[in-house]
Symmetry: C2
Subunit: 431 residues, 2 copies
């Protein structure tokens, strides 16, 4: 029986054309984050499962991660996210590292879920974190950096929107303003996080099921809806609008605007899925109606490094997935067109392989990317292969060319030919 | 209880200094293989376990791979090698692809084994394959490419040696010359593959245990030792030296030498661990006595793509692991020294954060990598952080600088200072 040619469920193969697009995305990631002074790190793909259970609970970890027991009896998981791993790294050198510490990575992540558009079981994510800054300046930098990233991809500010909230504001909304207990607050946060994915009726039904009869009678449901409908900080109920959390939201939005980022606003509905966030949180949304999912999310999580038994450290970070970004680039026609990375295709008449190899090696030492056709096919068929591979130049080498060391260079797009020596060819093709 | 800060057994964390070294290695990989016209691809980390069982057998796969059953009941493995995956990709588009097809990747691989120097459970490997060339020209290109790689890393030919053999020569040695059956041949090949890791006595004991009494009486053991001791093709027993396999070995060695690769020789002891090799095989060894392990290995495997139910395709490929290469570079003092990728560290007097952010953003738009100190520490302490991070330049911004828009640029290595405007700073720091 033959083996199956398809990739594993929920994953995709990267043929060279896909890989080039991914490479372009990663190149932009690296260029921009390095301009902000961030350095790249990496961690092993597998971590002890405890790392995830500590913050998300065993049930969620077992449901959503690729976890298994290794041959040594260790319970491990393929990392579903990078934040626990980077926290582990920082904790392991807590005293030696110089703060502010600016780190990034572009890890492979795995999560066990029903595959859907923009949600794959395997994906890659740009992770950017700044450690050791306890003021809004860290959040401001992360938001400026995100903005620079999208600009570098060719996006303009009408294509996306940044929404800001604060975990303590949610605590105050649930605990103080609505009078919910811890368990109710947790359920309400989870509900808010998936609000855009369910109908309004379904949302209200779940709200009612979370509230006690007494809370319902006291109008908690109406108060919640009223708070959620506040489109700006000013429209929040007074009990919420004068808190420290709201002041921090205001500062972040105002300073972002002062530095040229106008498409930023408050949204009390922004929750972020992970429990470890402790302060300001933000998400970036495509404004296109075709793609209303969150593209990027992040926030402050000051407690995570401390779980490793060292002094905690203020941290702000974000993650941006490659699949969601690719959706965005495609919807807004921002994906670039690529030509082949092979500069020259050498085709051969007769047996002139040694001569072709020598010519190719000389050109390679000039930094030119050269592929040789070893097929022995007819000349026309060899040239067709170059065209199929979208290579711009063909070099024809036969007995005559070997003798004179002058070769026929064909420009495929212009349909022109020239007889040139190696140095002239190198000069013509140098990028 | 605190979480553990150590990475999973047999793996390592890549702090920024480690990651930069790895990046340098990958950059050289990509530069050289692209010069030979190879294009990058990638595949998912997880594959159905059948992909590995088909060629290596269930026992080896279960012993040596990270395999598990997913929540959907599928038996899967984290890939221990890339060859089955790339064969799957080529098979999936067998008719559409244009040959010769030159592909490479630098995948993460996992294998379950006792960690030791140069052998990690997680590692990365450069994989290079050429599909669709049925002559020695494919092997020649792969050997030239390997040689160019090592040259680009700064190695000279005295530091390494390429050893060539042929699978069919081994078949003839075992089957025809020694009269072994298939099972005996298989055992003998495995023994040969680990010959350098065991003592001579142990080796001879195992040889004797593989042979039948009759074979031993007929001098099979002595014949084997005599064949293995042949240091050149000419010294092989005549029954072996006139085979097609030996002719191919000769052609490859001679053509490599003609193209400037002198450190290549025949070695009948080269087996290659994987069963799928079908023709010429080769390995590259460090000549340093400190590191006598194989650094790179490859060969021809014409049958693998055909396992996916399509017409087979001639293929030659090789793999080069990052850990073994790093050992080589370290032993020969070939690892480069890096300075920080952060070009400039902005330190702040007072509250001049907005002014610092503006200056940083202007410099970033000139492609300069700028980190800002947000700590509010004393100036001297901020500058010390720049020194600790090995950043070459510091920019000092206080109220006076904000007003005049002329900033103090300190060159840390030269201990000099200049008052400059942003444009002058940009010109000074542009790479």
């Amino acid at each position: 029986m033959s083996l199956n040619v398809n990739p594993y469920k929920g994953t995709k193969d990267f043929f060279p054309e896909d890989k080039r697009l991914q490479d372009y995305i990663f190149r932009v990631f690296r260029k921009v984050v390095k301009e902000y002074g961030y350095e790249e790190y990496d961690t092993p793909l597998i971590e002890p499962i405890d790392l995830y259970i500590a913050k998300s609970g065993e049930e969620i970890v077992n449901e959503q991660t690729y976890s298994f027991v290794d041959r040594g009896g260790r319970k491990v998981a393929i990392r579903p996210e990078m934040t626990p791993s980077v926290s582990r790294l920082v904790a392991s050198k807590r005293q030696e590292l110089a703060y502010p510490l600016r780190w990034f990575s572009i890890p492979i992540l795995w999560r066990y879920e029903r595959p859907q558009k923009g949600r794959m079981r395997e994906h890659r994510q740009l992770n950017v974190d700044v450690f050791g800054v306890d003021s809004y300046l860290a959040e401001l930098e992360i938001i400026m950096l995100t903005n620079s990233l999208l600009k570098e991809f060719g996006a303009n500010p009408t294509m996306y929107e940044i929404k800001v909230n604060h975990r303590q504001l949610l605590d105050e909304l649930f605990g103080v303003y609505l009078g919910l207990d811890g368990d109710q607050s947790h359920k309400m946060a989870r509900l808010l996080d998936k609000k855009d994915k369910i109908s309004k009726t379904e949302f209200l039904d779940i709200v009612d099921s979370i509230l006690t009869a007494k809370q319902r009678d006291n109008g908690a449901s109406e108060k919640l809806l009223s708070a959620l409908s506040a489109e700006s900080i000013e429209k929040l109920p007074k009990e919420l609008s004068e808190t420290d959390a709201v002041k921090e939201i205001k500062t972040l939005i105002e300073s972002s605007k002062a530095h040229g980022i106008k498409n930023i606003k408050f949204d009390i509905g922004i929750v972020r899925g992970f429990d470890y966030y402790s302060g300001l949180v933000f998400e970036l949304f495509d404004t296109s109606p075709e793609n209303n999912r969150s593209m990027m999310g992040g926030g402050r999580y000051d407690g995570l490094v401390g779980l490793f038994g060292v002094e905690p450290i203020p941290t702000v970070g974000f993650g941006l997935g490659d699949a969601t970004l690719l959706n965005f680039l495609e919807i807004h026609n921002l994906t670039p067109n690529f030509t082949s990375e092979v500069d020259l295709y050498v085709v051969i008449i007769g047996d002139e392989y040694d001569s072709a190899i020598n010519a190719a090696n000389q050109l390679r030492s000039n930094g030119i990317n050269v592929a040789i056709d070893y097929s022995g096919r007819k000349l026309g068929n060899q040239i067709k292969i170059a065209e199929k591979k979208a290579i711009n130049y063909v070099l024809i080498i036969g007995p005559e060319e070997s003798k004179t060391q002058r070769f026929t260079l064909r420009d495929i797009t212009k349909s022109t030919e020239d007889k040139l020596d190696i140095e002239q060819i190198a000069n013509r093709l140098k990028r």
